[in-house]
């Protein structure tokens, strides 16, 4: 899935359902995630979108960027509203008031709206097994309100509420394992994706809609504004996050873990951190410490995938 070179990109559906002209910053990767999501999901889709960057930039009155039915809901209940939409469709189709056929229901939340505020609604949705795809675009902080830390913020990252100084080297805790939490609900399909690997992401969205039950995709979406990096570097940063093992791409389906791509080796995380202002304060020891954690976690995931392949 990793290497569809050059020409495969000319074969992706040309119709834009997330239209250009929205108000995202230069080099916004979450906006790319929305584009790819709708290219894969198609026009037969209903979206419930929690408050967050993607809601703010796409729906400033009187404009809207969405080419599909779309509802903005509060920070905490995107999953609950999507559950309601799915249940409503089921009832209307049973009563014959809506033509039979598959309608894709998607809930979208940022990392704040998913990891922190919307977690209980998400857990409820996964537990009840609604036929909904929950997409969490993860830019690792509350970006639209001014870069406050969330529980998706990685260790030692400097944000406005976890500033790096003499006493504290940025965020003190690590990132919550969202895909792990979703997999623990034993749902149909869980996957991690990255905006720098669009074919992988689009294939995962399609697999998700083919799988019965609730599904969650956690997509890693670099944010140049919040990460204090150059807007032309986001694709490279996403690729490096995957190639260094900081954000491993894997799927969980039917109780089995599967790594999405075999990495020939892990690149040193320094190559990922050096172009980001939020990591500028890090010392060599701190980088070495993060490297150790990243390698250990990647190896653990590999073991998990190998063990579930064996049976």
């Amino acid at each position: 899935m990793e290497h569809f070179n050059v020409f495969a990109s000319k074969l992706v559906p040309g119709r834009e359902l997330f239209s250009p002209g929205h108000k995202a910053c230069q080099g916004c990767a979450p906006a790319l995630a929305m584009r790819y999501l709708l290219k894969a999901a198609g026009p037969n889709t209903i979206i419930a979108n929690a408050t967050g960057c993607m809601e703010i930039i796409s729906s400033a009155y009187p404009d809207i960027a969405w080419g599909v039915p779309w509802i903005h809901v509060a920070f905490e209940n995107a999953a609950a509203v999507a559950s309601g939409i799915e249940a409503g469709i089921k009832v209307l189709q049973r009563k014959g008031k809506l033509a039979p056929g598959k309608i894709n229901v998607i809930a979208i939340g940022g990392d704040g709206g998913t990891f922190d505020i919307g977690l209980q609604a998400l857990s409820g949705m996964l537990e009840r097994g609604h036929e909904v795809l929950y997409l969490c675009y993860d830019n690792e902080a509350y970006m639209n309100t001014g870069i406050q830390r969330s529980s998706a913020t990685p260790m030692f990252s400097s944000t406005t509420t976890s500033p790096a100084g003499k006493k504290i080297p940025g965020q003190a805790t690590g990132k919550k394992d969202l895909a792990g939490i979703a997999a623990a609900h034993n749902v149909g399909y869980v996957a991690t994706a990255c905006t720098s690997y669009p074919f992988d992401f689009m294939a995962k969205v399609k697999t998700a809609f083919e799988t019965p039950g609730s599904k969650l995709i956690h997509i890693f979406a670099p944010c140049p504004t919040g990460w204090r990096s150059a807007p032309n570097e986001i694709i490279k940063l996403g690729r490096l996050a995957v190639q260094t093992g900081i954000f491993p791409l894997y799927e969980y389906k039917g109780g089995q873990y599967h790594m999405s791509m075999e990495l020939p080796f892990l690149k040193p995380i320094k190559s990922y951190m050096k172009s980001q202002g939020r990591y500028r304060h890090l010392s060599e020891e701190q980088i070495a410490m993060v490297q150790e954690n990243v390698t250990a976690r990647y190896e653990w995931l590999q073991k998990l995938a190998a063990a579930s392949q064996e049976g």
């Binding site: 569809f4 070179n5 495969a8 000319k10 074969l11 559906p13 074919f199 075999e262 020939p264 690149k267």
Partner: protein, 241 residues
């Protein structure tokens, strides 16, 4: 703009558009396998059969992907005659490619019970729609694969079913195949397009050592774009812009 009727509903269309394009825009489902917007339509798979014709005249069974609309055309996408044809097309495709999941999905979506009367000895997952051949020619420009033999023995592959020497390993065929019968495997050393039996050694970045594209592909791209020789020695992430 002209007005046409699809299943009794009046819709606007540009003259010369195909029925499939108009129907897709209007949200009317017509199954299709060999059609792709990036390449010329050939009507090879016959899956998109519909009934079309001018009002008051006898209607014909046509393929929606190749039939250009004009004023007053009336189209039926799911009457009994169309369903009978769809059923036959599906039955024949299923005997050629019994493992192809997409055929079952189409049958399920159209709510058709497809009988299975024929069996083919050399059946695989390929339905011979030729989409990969057209993409390799029109989009990639490599023209590496083609149809071999004739009649029931027809097979898609490199010339004379040898490994195609012009294949650059871009995997556009893998991406576009409607039945997913073209598979690709990749290791740090080589990329293999399994169906064509094409093995391409990978080029490694001189700086970070990451395998990023097949050697042969870099060579072809250099010929096409006339970039300096050093350009493809580095991966896109290490290249200085």
């Amino acid at each position: 703009m002209v007005e046409i009727k699809i299943n009794g509903k009046t819709v606007q269309a540009n003259e010369g558009e195909t029925i499939l394009e108009v129907a897709t825009r209007e949200g009317i489902y017509i199954p299709s396998l060999c059609h792709h917007e990036a390449v010329a339509a050939t009507g090879a798979c016959r899956m998109c059969v519909v009934e079309a014709g001018k009002a008051g005249r006898k209607k014909k069974i046509v393929t929606a992907c190749t039939f250009p609309v004009s004023a007053g055309v009336e189209v039926e996408t799911s009457n009994d005659r169309v369903k009978m044809n769809q059923k036959l097309v599906l039955e024949l495709l299923m005997s050629r490619a019994p493992q192809a999941k997409i055929l079952d999905e189409i049958a399920c979506r159209l709510d058709l019970e497809v009988p299975r009367r024929f069996e083919m000895a050399n059946a695989d997952e390929c339905i011979l729609c030729g989409l990969c051949v057209r993409v390799c020619d029109e989009v990639v420009g490599a023209n590496a694969i083609t149809f071999n033999s004739r009649g029931a023995d027809t097979k898609v592959g490199g010339p004379l079913m040898e490994s195609p020497e012009d294949c650059i390993g871009c995997a556009a065929c893998v991406y576009v195949c409607p039945t997913d019968c073209i598979k690709m495997t990749e290791t740090a050393e080589a990329r293999t397009i399994v169906k064509w039996d094409r093995v391409l050694p990978m080029k490694k970045c001189a700086e970070c050592g990451w395998p990023f594209m097949p050697n042969f592909q870099a060579l072809q791209f250099r010929k096409m774009t006339e970039v300096p020789k050093e350009f493809f020695s580095l991966c896109p992430d290490c290249r200085k812009h």
